[in-house]
């Protein structure tokens, strides 16, 4: 077995500068873009929150979960379930409740899964997510395979989330809060312990860290944060269905994370944005002769992912770091 992939916890200044430019672009974007693109970028930011939450497990703690979408979906369903047919529901208590629901589910499932390691963990998380998928899929009260509609976006009181631009900035604010929270967490003693578990769990246990509790906490926090993304997703699209918690959703989050680069949360944002952009690009491909290339976007995304893993295993941020490394003198 090879050594774990290199991680990029402390980014060089040049990369940080480029990321800051990206943030400025995000802040100004609604003024330059049409409704369609504004909604697309809102979706990217929601997925970036989801990808960051998985990064806490995958990039920081070394736990690759193939069932992370379960918690994303649970919170979306929580919002759908709490929203009455004819009116909006307050953001201020439903968001915490949805995140708690996702976190509680993660705590219960985590109790079973964090006892396992490596490839076993991948399989078990996928199986548990599938169990939740079937639970919803076969439940008439939750709309079964048809899903549920959320007719009204949550009511925030102070600002109007029905306004697309307001929703965009609210999502951006959530993204920044989660990023700041996770960065803070990463450099706290708790985060250092998680990173230690990734590098060598046996050593951490020998030094006296009960790795079970740390991993379970990470799994729960990651589940709750995925819940925030799921809540926002439900609010934006006004619709939830079992596919939100399905295998392909979980798989796509992993792809985003590896595409961007793991271990420092910025990679998760870059990966989510890039993955969605590439997806849109492939879906928009023109027809060549009688061959409708856009219709077969799954083929291109598959080949793209295979190419990434063959040629850029450290993701886009790793690639960026290698390119900027040439004019980057201060290695910190």
């Amino acid at each position: 077995m090879s050594a774990p992939a290199a991680h990029l916890e402390a980014l060089p200044r040049s990369v940080n500068f480029i990321l800051l430019l990206g943030l400025a672009a995000l802040a100004l974007f609604p003024f330059a873009a049409s409704d369609f693109y504004q909604q697309m970028v809102t979706r990217m930011m929601i997925l970036a929150i989801l990808a960051m939450s998985l990064d806490l497990l995958q990039g920081v703690t070394g736990l690759v979960s193939l069932g992370h979408a379960a918690f994303f979906g649970i919170a979306g369903y929580a919002l759908a379930f709490l929203t009455p047919q004819g009116e909006a529901v307050s953001l201020w208590w439903t968001l915490p409740v949805a995140m708690l629901a996702a976190g509680a589910a993660a705590l219960v499932i985590g109790f079973f899964v964090v006892r396992t390691r490596g490839i076993y963990f991948i399989m078990v998380t996928m199986a548990f997510a599938q169990m939740i998928y079937y639970l919803v899929f076969n439940n008439k009260a939750l709309g079964g395979s048809d899903g549920l509609y959320i007719n009204f976006r949550p009511d925030a009181g102070l600002f109007d989330l029905e306004n697309k631009r307001v929703f965009y900035y609210f999502t951006l604010a959530c993204l920044l809060v989660v990023y700041a929270f996770l960065r803070r967490l990463l450099w706290s003693p708790f985060g250092r312990a998680l990173a230690g578990i990734r590098v060598n769990e046996h050593r951490m246990r020998a030094v006296g860290y009960g790795s079970f509790g740390y991993k379970l906490s990470a799994f729960t926090v990651a589940g709750a944060l995925a819940g925030m993304a799921g809540y926002l997703w439900g609010a934006q699209t006004g619709f939830v269905n079992p596919e939100l918690m399905g295998f392909h959703m979980s798989a796509q989050v992993i792809m985003m994370l590896i595409l961007g680069g793991m271990g420092n949360f910025a990679g998760a944002i870059v990966g989510a944005v890039a993955f969605e952009a590439v997806l849109e690009l492939f879906k928009d491909l023109p027809s060549f002769g009688g061959f409708d290339a856009g219709k077969h976007w799954q083929l291109w995304i598959g080949l793209f992912i295979v190419a990434v893993i063959c040629f850029a295993p450290r993701g886009l941020l790793g690639l960026l770091q290698r390119v900027t490394g040439r004019w980057n003198v201060d290695h910190d």
């Binding site: 077995m1 079973f112 399989m123 199986a127 548990f128 590896i258």
Partner: protein, 308 residues
Amino acid sequence: MPTTAERSAVFYGFSSHLDDLVDFANFLIQLLNGVQYGLLLFMLAAGLTLIFGIMGVVNLAHGSFYMLGAYLAWSLSSHLGSFAAALVVGTALSVVFGLVLERVLFRHFYRRDHLDQVLLTLGLIYVFEESRSLLWGDDVHGVPIPPLLRGSLALTDTLSYPFYRLFTMAVCVALALGLYLLISKTRLGMKIRAGAFNRDMTEALGVNIKLIHAVVFALGVALAAVAGMIAAPLSSVYPNMGSPVLIMCFVVVVIGGIGSVRGALIAALLVGLVDTFGQVLLPQIASMLVYMLMAAVLLWKPEGLFRS
């Protein structure tokens, strides 16, 4: 398109309920169905666990090989006009497919991180799924049971069991036996086991480990494809049919213990029986039962029943 529940009903082949089961005869039928489903799962899980145990490769695209087998069975049997010929040609094609795939892609991933393997095979799922769509379209197809295997065997005066299901059991048992003999009794099996234990040392002793890995990989692909081929007349052939199968394989491997072929056999039979009887006795929560079984095993033995 049929729902998952309908598909599984076809796949497991039952339609009875609690009161029917009072009858011992029906109990026997369910038992046979459970064993038959379990044996089919075993063929799939054995390939998955073999490839992992020997090469250390996580293969999420294993369900796609099952799908490939089913589509080959449908396509070849309608072109060749014979299910038996389709089985032979289909097996040969899937072995070639496995060898090419190993050579072009998987070979370069043996020593890489599991995460890289996960991503590679996730990408491949999309490639295979869409290639299937381009090659064979998105319709659901039935594969007729070959004439020789139609009809059923009379077990008692009132009770009979379809020949075709008995045939699938026979194929699975024969392959399981063959696999056991290959790995534990032959010279090649000895080299395979040595290579899994210590790759470099085995290579230093003059064993062509690259060739052995290629053979094992192709064997794993062929096992999944053959399972798909013989399941095709029972389950019909439809898009995305690999995903639920892959997940069931994971459940089996988690329960049995990764890398253990014996564990896979016992876990597959257990899953097959729990699922089949669950559908009859507790239809409301049937789709959850195998996962509950998995959770219980994990609580008791986090590494599975027979971790090798």
